[in-house]
Symmetry: C2
């Protein structure tokens, strides 16, 4: 463990007091940095809560490990609702569950608002940390650690720090300044789908559906999900292309649409409430942001959505952001708080992982709304479970690697591809052996000669067609 | 042809007086718009020329067609040096040429500075157009056509236009404002290579190498090219990774490097001049920018590098930008100057093409420095030539489609892929027939039986190995 003497008196500006900013401030204050958090909004613990971002989130292993490192895991977990499986709602109203992992594994439905409040209170428990609410970052010179902030007094103030940590989200101002520096790669991509939040209220003071599930209504081109809240309501999110949202301008259109696609949800939501919530806010856009590097020299680094906003379909946005903080903390240990080593190392080490979870989330955007409904998907999950049971350390389902381990995201992707290949080959060999066995039995039945004859027979033209077919068939798995 | 009455009195701000901005101003002024061009630099026709951007460019068919539409083609072409072929310089000093097209086809080496000056003079020949030099765009509200510009008097001035045309290059300020609007996709990527310009001066008042060629020294990981100038010098550009540039900190390192990799260029450049030019400026970065859409509502549109900065390896950067102007002009004709139709239509129609030439340029980044040297490349060009001669309208080499036609870039890519597939199949069939023919002749020589026997023989195991091999071999082209 590194001595923290060399951080004493060093000053860090954390831009953004959202989930990742607040968590990061805890990590840095714990390491004896003097931390100023600048948050543009008012203190959400006193201000009236306003809609805008999604209301609940799925906390899994990576996020929990980061919370554990600053001693907050138990407190946060106690305020979450465990979800042990997906609950698939078919169009006919039939429900079927697909577990996330083994019996002891679950993800947690957590309120974004409560979590953020708890994290801000945790920041303020460190004497060396201060949160400046209502302070907006006007501009920065990231290579020098200089920021200009505008507080409630409306007088721009210049402050210089040893380190600027940009945790200011998908539309990061810090990142916008890095973008102007030479050789900074960047991409932002909006997906054609938007999202809209709806509610299933408690029914007679109890959950209106099974609580310990992430409910999914997959409908191919669009889908709805529902996560349980502590107050026994569910927050539903409808994901649908903006084009399709525009096809529902009136209350009648919305009701028709729900009747046709989510008939079981209408009585749970209530017709009036559904209509009211549907027209409360327009559908929100979803952006996927990638950049490289995450740092500039030894004075500025990006984490969380500022570094890698991802689409929400793997439930890893917050977890990846929290793991950023944990990985950085681990690097600070390893390299004795030397920022000039830790920052480039953070970019080098973390970018492949954050890009991998970004790609996986985009992949799941299709899987969740379309494949999850198919028998093939169910068969694959069953196979995953079986193979994991037989070879627990060799074969780990993708979802398990992502949600219940800290296997690096990019390694999880590599293992996943490798496992798929092995399964395909395995199934192929199994299929071939079955075919050969059947043929042998068939021939054996017709004339009881030894296998050696079959081989010769196969090569002489009598079963030539089958023989040549096999030669071609062997090629198939390799050309995929 | 649409009447231009409906443009009378309408005002357009063209941001940027570089090549595309100036050309666009001509197109718009010709269409009777009131055009203000804002250019941050001083008038290059009076200011001293400063280094920075590449000195010469390759003008090909698309760019020429755009110049023709505003009556400038002949004037510009007369100031260019035709390049009819690539001249490949091998390490041993051997030179070999690879023509760009047929005998009458060539691209033109053009001075960026002269071309820009001519275009600015052309703009000023329209009474309804004015170029405001030394005017910087501070900010804009693209959805309203409002710009704030800062002139030499240092007083910000707000002006509102019917249309803002962003032609302000790869680091466009107009685009930076569009990026903040909802659902604007964007990516910027720096390639690992940088470029550096060097010079081969005239020798005894004449070109020191064959003038009508684009000279290439392909060296796999890096390369040098040289384009002829009207003053009988050549401008050389060395493309190399920044990592490799950093390995040459001293004059001796540079000379050693040139001795080892470009020995024939040293006497042409002169040792002293080579060293002087090498250390004049650091290597410059190259960025590839993509975005979508190109427009915002009916008040703002991007063209040229502002919309799609591409790497320079297909020589199409300027040509694509010029064709943007021409395509927009054609749409204005088609849709009677209705901006609310033309702007979305420009995005819809043009983005696939500009993205295609961006991808092709990135592809050529490898082809030019690595493949161009191989026998396989030469064989393919020969095959291209042969097939084009036999089927001139069916089979058109990629380079010809890009440089000598106005086939839409994305269609050129589709045709190219199709043609490659057809060639591969053709070669495969040819190869197979040759193999079968050879086998037949061989067998026929050994025992003069008819072909029918061979077929039966092949299926019965005597030539079974060969037979099964063929079965596998057939798969190969499909799995590529």
């Amino acid at each position: 463990m590194a001595s923290s003497d060399d951080t004493q008196g060093k000053r860090v500006a954390v831009i953004g007091g959202g989930l990742v900013g607040a968590l990061n401030a805890c990590f840095l204050a714990k390491r004896n940095f003097q931390v100023d958090v600048y948050e543009a909004r008012e203190d959400i613990r006193v201000a009236k809560f306003t809609h805008g971002r999604s209301i609940n989130l799925a906390l899994s292993y990576r996020g929990r490990q980061a919370l554990k490192a600053i001693g907050l895991e138990d407190q946060i977990v106690s305020k979450g609702v465990p979800m042990r499986a997906r609950m698939i709602h078919s169009l006919s109203g039939k429900k079927s569950e697909i577990p996330y992992g083994n019996k002891s594994q679950y993800i947690l439905s957590i309120s974004r608002e409560k979590l953020n409040k708890d994290l801000l209170t945790a920041v303020e428990s460190y004497p060396s940390a201060k949160v400046h609410f209502g302070h907006k970052l006007l501009k920065c010179r990231p290579e020098e650690g200089a920021v200009t902030v505008l507080g409630p007094d409306k007088v721009p103030r210049d402050v210089t720090y040893d380190l600027i940590v940009g945790c200011d989200g998908a539309y990061s101002t810090v990142r916008a300044h890095l973008m102007k520096k030479p050789r900074f790669d960047y991409s932002q991509q909006y997906i054609p789908h938007g999202y809209m939040e709806l509610t299933i209220p408690p029914k007679n003071g109890e959950y209106a559906m099974e609580p310990n599930y992430l409910h999914i209504w997959p409908r191919n081109a669009f889908m709805m999900i529902a996560l349980p809240n502590m107050d026994k309501s569910f927050t539903c999110t409808l994901f649908m292309s903006f084009e399709d949202f525009e096809k529902l301008p009136t209350s009648d259109d919305v009701l028709d649409f729900f009747q046709k696609n989510f008939p079981d949800a209408i009585p749970l939501m209530g017709e009036q409430a559904l209509i009211r919530n549907f027209f409360l806010l327009p559908a929100q856009a979803m952006i996927s942001v990638k950049c490289s590097p995450f740092h500039l020299k030894s004075h500025c680094v990006l984490m969380g959505d500022a570094a890698h906003a991802i689409v929400p379909f793997f439930g890893q946005g917050m977890n990846a952001g929290f793991e950023d903080c944990l990985v950085f903390d681990e690097l600070m240990d390893k390299f004795n708080n030397d920022l000039s080593v830790c920052l480039p190392e953070f970019s080098r080490f973390r970018i492949p992982d954050d890009h991998a979870i970004s790609d996986l989330s985009m992949y799941n955007y299709i899987e969740m709304r379309a494949h999850v409904n198919s028998r093939w998907f169910l068969f694959q999950r069953l196979l995953d479970k079986l193979l994991h049971a037989i070879m627990p350390s060799t074969f780990i389902p993708l979802y398990t690697m992502v949600a219940f381990t800290r296997i690096r995201y990019h390694e999880a992707v590599l293992r996943w591809h490798w496992q798929k290949k092995v399964i395909n080959k395995g199934l192929f060999v199994l299929g071939s052996l079955t075919a050969i066995g059947s043929a042998y039995l068939l021939l054996h039945h017709l004339s009881p000669r030894p296998l050696g004859f079959l081989r010769r027979q196969a090569w002489t033209g009598t079963t030539g067609y089958w023989n040549r077919c096999t030669g071609v068939f062997w090629q198939v798995p390799w050309s995929h």
